[in-house]
Symmetry: C2
Subunit: 427 residues, 2 copies
Amino acid sequence: MTTSSQALLRCYDCGCTYDHGDRTRCSCGEPLWFDLDVSGFEWPAETNQETGRDPATAGSWRYDAVLPVSAPDTTTLPPGSTPLVRAGALDSFADCGLYLKPEGQNPTGSFKDRGTAVGVAHALDTGADWIGTVSHGNMALSTSAYAAAAGLECAVFVPADIPSERLDLLARHDPHVFRVEGDYGRLYEETLALNTDGDAGVTFVNSDTPLRVAGQKTIAYELLEQFRLGSSNVPSSPNMPSSSAVPDAIVLPVSSGGQASGVWKALRELTRSGALADDDIPRLYFVQAAPCDPIATAFREGREEVTPIDADETIAVSIANSDPPSGTRALTAARDTDGAVVSVSDEATREAMDRLATDAGLAVEPSSAVALAGVRKLSDRGEIAADESVVTILTGSGYKESVETEPRCRDIDLADLEHELASVVES
Amino acid sequence: MTTSSQALLRCYDCGCTYDHGDRTRCSCGEPLWFDLDVSGFEWPAETNQETGRDPATAGSWRYDAVLPVSAPDTTTLPPGSTPLVRAGALDSFADCGLYLKPEGQNPTGSFKDRGTAVGVAHALDTGADWIGTVSHGNMALSTSAYAAAAGLECAVFVPADIPSERLDLLARHDPHVFRVEGDYGRLYEETLALNTDGDAGVTFVNSDTPLRVAGQKTIAYELLEQFRLGSSNVPSSPNMPSSSAVPDAIVLPVSSGGQASGVWKALRELTRSGALADDDIPRLYFVQAAPCDPIATAFREGREEVTPIDADETIAVSIANSDPPSGTRALTAARDTDGAVVSVSDEATREAMDRLATDAGLAVEPSSAVALAGVRKLSDRGEIAADESVVTILTGSGYKESVETEPRCRDIDLADLEHELASVVES
């Protein structure tokens, strides 16, 4: 395997290559990603069995053949191995054959653990003592926890007005928190400029950095392998709406564009290696919250580039990025796979979040629910057909955020137990 | 497979048997559990591969050969398949070779999902429209979510003074919540008395009911299989302190005694089937919070039975049960396996919780941290030796509860980014 310090970075757009560590942006301005030789890739199922690994715990590292770093010798936080589940009860809501990938079951409750794990492994490889990130949500928590587990110091840059609830979550893992007064988009780019690995001693794994995108792409490898095994349910997959070994579409929320880039990268690698046929490539759909939808706006307007917008507030705070650093790359991914980028109202997001919790038992954060709201919108528009299989990535658990709800409550006395229960059951 | 409606229940103590559904307590007063024929049990690893199942998502149902119900045809909430991880960074704190089983990575963030899944499967099998439970914490949340996913109505009985934060968590899955004024221990038993399955139409899966205990025992099957595969880490298991295929001890928190009973049941079944040698049986250690430790008290005093105590408040709210319905069974399990029941101070629990978050990256609830505090205490006492392998079950995620912390925060201006970071990194 090529290690990250030897690996090349390539620009998806103009094709220029650079050594990893030299820069994170191409001279053309677009973000870089790792350029690895994936020609020999094969699905690892049997191999892992032969070597005696427990697949249930191998997680993202199951795909280490296509990662720029080796798995660490040991970890308390194996990322990935989240289930892929068939959500038939939501088929009529989504108007398609719906599969869900609940990434909230990662160690710190979100998809970010996959990228963090790769960033931490690289930091350990290169002897860096510090890891850093710019985030006030899932990525900050993930980075803090993985740094703690790896014995690294962690620098987390958050906006000056971060709610105390979010700080409390982070603080358990004891990172160094920097509350920064100033433009958050500039902060993101300025930390990347400091990202000289061994030199300053801090490895920044911001959301669209090559290390993080490499880790995030394992979501796509994993869901495609699970789908392919025809085993996405427990214990079998009844009502599989499609006889194909590949879903017709993959739908996910988009913010910085890092995760969207990772999924696209996986599809490109799989077709290049021959593990995925060209006419089997799932369409990629990315979803934003309408109050803050720069990528969807560019898609709608047929533009070639994503430009910053003046955004409004949305309940989908984790994906409210008005100036997405990999926005244009995400836009390109959607077009390249015959997909789209759409945005949904907060009202539609609330409805999707509620349906996930009450019909599928899955409590997700609003930023994850946008993806299901997006599926519904795409079905309404005829872009997704009723007989198609659609995998929706639920990026994060809803249990980390407090949500005010209106519980169905009745106050009773113990003496009236049987009567009170019967009156509800029979009604 | 014997189905739950045909299955026998047996009393672990006097050996009496009953049909399932007739009662939940033996005439001698002790709790019942399923009496299944496990003589043909074999570790299912290869079998599952052959049938094309994805082991990463099969979860608890991987062990359906020893469960009283079949896996449902489909589910969005596959329980189990949580990793078993080696936590070398905590070896010196624990003074042994420490393994952790973070059950917070179950779909609703706790170990309870395993038992809930079995209860829900039984309800579906018997045509019950309702499932119920008595809980204000993890079990209530788990039951609400699984009921929602299975299309069942759910009745949750909580104390009248339940904090609104907990109600909000439940309410997302829209159960029928009954806030009950009256003694909580009596409420527990009175709901069991209503538990006539098909008749009243409500299947109660309280914490020590036979269905739940059956599901909970899969934790032990799973961790023993993972340990046996020598694959408890990613990707391999360096520094495995023991060459044995079985851990020397399993340590877990105890409250009602339901989970403790499940782990003991698994060990009994495994030895009966020949999958575990008699002299390989891990010692079982159960840990309570000192302010509320009826089982530890009975153990300490050498008594045969656990009796209710007047308890004080503890931070380990999820395990604060002063009148544990399966307390005597847990006590028996500890003695039978040459283990013990101990209690730890809230201060020791806080320290263990902090070490888990800062040295292993695992945020757990106080009720889980008591188990690690217990390991430390047992090592101090010489009951666990430094060269022994100990699996500690971390029952629930810490992300569902708000915790006040004191973050290491500094407020900076974007213009001072590089300088401020350097001053911290270099200090």
